[in-house]
Amino acid sequence: MVPPLLLALRAAAVAVGGSAAAMGAWGDVGTPAPALRSAPAVDFTRDIAPVLAARCFQCHGPDASSRKSGLRLDTRAGALKGGKSGSAAIVPGKPEESELLARVMSTDADERMPPVEGHVAVTAAEIDALHAWITAGAPYAKHWSWAALPDGAARTDMLHVDVAASTDHHSWLRRVHFDIVGLPPSLDDVRTFDADHSPAARERVVDTLLASPRYGERWGRHWMDVMRYAETLGHEFDYSVDEAWRWRDWVIRAFNTDVPYAQFVREQIAGDLLSTPRLNPADGTNESVTATGWWWMTQSTHAPVDVRLDQAERVDNQIDVATKAFLGTTASCARCHDHKFDEVSQRDYYALFGIVKSSRRAYAYQDPHGIIGLAVKTLRMGEDTGRTIARADGSNAEWERAAAQAKAAAKPAPVGATWTFDRGTFDGWTASGWAFGETPVNCGDRIAPDGHAPVTVAGGWAFSGALSDKLQGTLRSPTFTVPEIGIGVRCAGSKCRLRLVIDGYYLDDHNALLFESFTQAVDHPNEWRTHAWDAKRYAGEQAYIEVIDDGDGCIAMDWVSLGMVTGKDLEPAPFEGAPGATSNTDADATLAASTAPALTPTLDIPGPMRVLAMEDGTGMDSPLYVRGVARNAGDTVPRGMITALRSDKPGADGSATVTGSGRLQLADELVSPRNPLTWRVMANRVWHHLTSRGIVPSTDDFGVLGQAPADKALLDELAMRLRAHGSVKELIRQIALSSAYAAADRPLRRLDAETLRDAMISVAGGLDLTMGGPSIPVHLTDAMQGRGRPGNSGPLDGARRRSVYQEVRRNFLNPFMLVFDEPIPTTTVGARSVSNVPAQGLTLMNDPFVRGQAERWGAAMAARAAGACALSSGLPDIAARTATQDTVRAMCMAAYARPTTEEEVMNAVAFLGVSTDAAPTVPDANAWSDLAHAILLSAEFRFLR
């Protein structure tokens, strides 16, 4: 929550007044009126817009399709013009002549608006406000969050208000530790802070915390909520999303290295398309590509009955998350109709839809430490040793003969072949990885793949074995419309696959139902075959072909045809004299492994690292789906950003300049300094995480139905700072060091699920701070049943790694996390709910994990006390008492980060069962464990002041 005192002090600045000058459409107001320093009597944003939205917009709002009587009240022009009745709904300055007022006040059921049946009447207070507003000239204002950020320099005083009292320094320390790194301060942290009396003490703490790798783990988890991070697809079988964790690690690194927010956004939207990708300094891999993995953390079902609908659902979730996460906008509301409340038309939705639909799911190949790249270089340079692609250049008579032979025997591709690879290009296909090289091999080329004797290529092939069988890569076709009569690929190869991807559907990886044989193994090194797909059922859908070499084999492909072959022609290859030359030559050249003399490969090439990523497909505008029905295509909508947020309005023809999918342009629009939402939304998220309540509490909805900012000036201030310096760390630093943050009377906050778990393990003394890597498998309890249940349970204590590294399986979410409100990953959750249910009490008392930590801590404390007692030279009873009391103090310090009162020590000692007058020994481990458990259970441990 916004610190109440700050609120009180800033109450006057809550509203931006509307302006009579703001004529015309609500959406066309370029410049907001200057902020009024005292709240106006009636304010459009605060008092009027919510009433119009709630009472009128269902029928008289931006959605033209459901508009009644031709009247729209979301624009001033519309209200002044009126509807079919001809009379103006609003006559500025003249409430008594305004039809709107007359209708909402009418006692005649036929006249009254909103209609009596099924609607709530406008209240007396709302009528008063409308009256006052019309009297004042009925000024409209652009919805506050969509209006531009103020120009000018950020002011510095906003966060440094006088507060009645600052919290005590131990509470501040605990607060700032949990908020920035999600862990309690250690005994050393408290001691250091206690000893530092300089004015910069707090700054030092904040800077140290922001520099800690623990910061990225804490704030990375916040971002994972926003992007609905999950490692499985949910639905019936809860299939795994391979390599999902690499995106999680990317997030953590991005926060730790404080990637500027604009870059952070651009990478996630279009990291694969950046001209200069950001490289991981540790291993040189492309960080920007890794950033795109979140797109594919949608829920997904296998065997969709309607694959186009399935795609529409997936893209809808992707749009939903992208627009909520970066814009605080529920664009997804415009899937079936214009947004009822915000400036997002249905066309806007399909402009975004086209962008996402033109992009593809891919596992991008990464080359840690550049080892593969070096191998490729070495292989290419190795002409003298014969490991190269060579053109016959007259220098070698034998080559010349072979080349001439090959060329003479080569035949043109069959008539109707859609793509061939005999002209030195991939013919519009895109290659990723290394195996396929930059171009196909040409007929007559002399090649000597690593480990094989030289041979002459007998045709123009897309070929993944020219340099080495070990190189991996994928070749993807342009997007095409599935023909009625089948699709054929002629190829030879081993350990490779061909795959037909329909409308982006990819779960056939897990379950081929309804997509049987869409992935075909290619394992016929000595024989050319035509692989065909019978995709009749999907005729008319959009598809592309993947040629995958992700192992030790290779594949050669000379042509691809759409609509020439049918399933029954699959084997044997039906085309006599197909391109290439004699089959012997084919085999020799294609897969020298079996026929050419095998040599020993000279290079040990490692497999690449794979990251879940988005890649560009063929850029194609999408039709608008009428009423959201995927099979009901309407007008085609040019790809692009939501119109009202475009920095560069499209040309008169409505077209915007997009290349490829248009994602890069979208990314640039999102981070445009002129886009007001991106900065406001993120600044608000930062505030939310530091105070547990955003200045706009509806963190993911800054629209008309979202909540109003408690202090718009403050929010804008923070947004402008973020826009100016781009540093999330700096924003956190400024807020954490503010007097508002330190105010004493902030509401109590409960630790969230991850923090509570991490804090328990931390105080118990066993937190493993290893970073990154595959997730710790979820611990399965008996109650966690159902399809997709993993075969093996993970460790009860999650290997004592931080919670951010625990696996997130949608259908098998960790019950401990769930009971403390970890969100179910479906869409953006910027603000978690905070529930309070008996199940939490049961968990804290009885969950074996909690008890386990208590016992671990208890055992350590028993040992500590016994050790201190043994070392003491005093009388045994005094030594035991002193050791016990000291240990109690240490425990309280660890849990609460504050000194313990004498009364608390006495109570704890009594609880431990130590008689204060005659106890020669320290309590046993059971007693200590119970004390530890009581502390873990205590409210002070679970709440932040």
């Binding site: 609607h119 408690a710 179910i824 199940a839 002070e940």
Partner: protein, 491 residues
């Protein structure tokens, strides 16, 4: 009509108050609260006695809320037998001989759009209907056991929904709105009735295996205080996780007492915020549940006759699961739990009652799972004198089409379907409303989900228009601005 994509921010009463306070400053907070309460009381809109809770936020933390019905109720508890996926009306309780005549032929009436747009020919019911009870209710052979309770049932054949898609329709059925974020009916009921007892939750969902599309949010408290959210039970084992004490009771009691002592000191230092008080209260509630839940779950004390009646040892595993659910529901009613929703078990490879194909096998499996246990529940409640104070409601989120989807399935149909009610002040042995000759659309006396809700609340002693919670500037109700009490159904 709202598309359901917008997910309102879940806001508690405290949030609402804070939100109201924004812009006025904290100083106004306390005064504002009093004002809201007074205004609400003046408008009679907080439900009987809601204002009597006094201190700000008391209702928000789960402390006993002094509340209760508006008038003498006929039902004390509700058992909602939720047939997830949408059972077919013309194959269960709404016989349509015309379908047999048209079977295999093009559907003779106009067809509304269907979810899968794969409409086939008219599909006759594979099951025979026969008359049962003194009332002569026609029930299909899918429900031979329930048919024996015909004279207890009020079969509503003219139910309608506004939504054709599971998630929206589920939200609508559960919360009265098609969007995420509204309180589930069980939450409204426990909010209205207040805490009946302290060692069992008032709103329980027994999860037989399938959480319906829409997820836990279907069963949530929405903007009502979190104390009114449902507790999810499993029908086997401990029922709830972690109800087994990790330590023997005395030792745990001592531990809790010590922890409570520290909490007391902390609360007093922190100024006793309600979130803290609620958390402390919950620890005690949790302790009590360690004995009340195992006691509830201990079915071994039930007689052999009862076991057989419900089918606890039935051959078919889903029947055994639902038998446990029904028996537990009875035991919960005996213990004063106010709202119990039963979720179906997984049967075979079926996707709930959602038979888009393979209607015959799918419905037979699902009916086999629930028929005997439901009948047993009705009979058992009746002979124990509990049926008259327990409202039992059976139904899905919509019905199914009279024409095939593909060749052997049925698509979703919100235009007319069947639910039934029994006990708790409902007149038994009657049917209400009707569908057209194909069972497709309502022919007479259409009933809305809001009407069902209004009537359920009426049986519990509430005027549905008065059971409200102010949220987002409106006095929200389960029935929104709709709903009529179906007096024709009342005994």
């Amino acid at each position: 009509m709202h598309c359901g994509k917008y997910q309102p921010h879940a806001i508690s009463r405290r949030d609402m108050l804070r939100r109201s306070a924004c812009g006025f400053g904290a100083a106004a907070f306390a005064g504002m609260f009093a004002q809201v309460i007074r205004a609400a009381e003046a408008a009679g809109s907080l439900g009987a006695g809601a204002g009597a809770s006094g201190a700000a936020g008391a209702a928000a933390i789960g402390a006993a809320r002094v509340a209760g019905p508006h008038f003498t109720p006929t039902a004390r508890s509700v058992i909602f037998l939720y047939m997830d996926g949408g059972p077919s009306q013309m194959d269960t309780f709404d016989p349509k001989p015309a379908l047999a005549k048209w079977n295999g032929k093009p559907f003779p009436a106009s067809m509304e759009p269907t979810q899968f747009n794969n409409n086939g020919a008219t599909l006759g019911s594979p099951w025979e209907f026969t008359r049962h009870g003194e009332c002569g209710l026609e029930v299909s052979s899918l429900f031979p056991h329930v048919a024996r309770c015909a004279d207890e049932l009020c079969v509503v054949r003219s139910m309608t929904s506004k939504f054709n898609e599971h998630t929206n329709a589920n939200y609508f059925l559960h919360t009265g709105a098609s969007i995420v974020g509204r309180p589930s009916m069980g939450a409204w009921v426990s909010y209205g009735l207040g805490d009946a007892r302290n060692d069992l939750p008032n709103f329980v969902v027994i999860n037989g295996g399938l959480i319906p599309p829409g997820g836990r949010e279907l069963l949530g408290n929405g903007f009502l205080p979190s104390a009114y959210q449902s507790s999810l039970f499993r029908p086997q084992g401990d029922g709830m996780p972690n109800v087994h004490g990790a330590l023997e009771t005395q030792r745990q009691r001592k531990l809790l007492d010590f922890s409570g002592q520290m909490d007391e000191a902390f609360a007093s230092r922190a100024g006793r915020p309600d979130a803290l008080e609620g958390a402390i209260h919950n620890a005690e509630l949790a302790f009590a549940m360690q004995s009340s839940v195992p006691d509830l779950m201990a079915l071994d004390g039930e007689t052999k006759e009862v076991r057989e009646l419900y089918g606890l040892d039935a051959e078919y595993e889903p029947t055994r699961i639902f038998a446990r659910e029904c028996l537990l529901a009875r035991r919960m009613v005996e213990r004063g739990v106010q709202f119990i929703e039963l979720l179906c078990p997984q049967t075979g490879g079926n996707d709930r009652w959602d038979q888009h194909s393979n209607l015959k096998n799918g419905h037979e499996d699902n009916a086999r799972a629930v028929d005997q246990p439901i009948a047993a529940l009705l009979m058992d409640l009746k002979r124990r004198g509990l049926l008259e104070q327990t409202l039992v409601v059976w139904g899905g989120e919509f019905g199914r089409t009279p024409f095939a989807q593909g060749t052997d399935g049925r698509d979703h149909n919100p235009h007319g379907f069947t639910v039934w009610l029994a006990g708790g002040g409902i007149k038994g042995g009657i049917t209400y409303g009707s569908t057209d000759e194909f069972g497709y659309k309502v022919a007479e006396h259409p009933v809305e989900i809001h009407d069902l809700h209004a009537t359920m609340l009426h049986c519990l002693g509430f005027d549905h228009r008065l059971l409200t919670m102010r949220f987002g500037g409106r006095d929200m109700r389960l029935t929104d601005v709709h709903g009529r009490v179906m007096r024709e159904w009342l005994a």
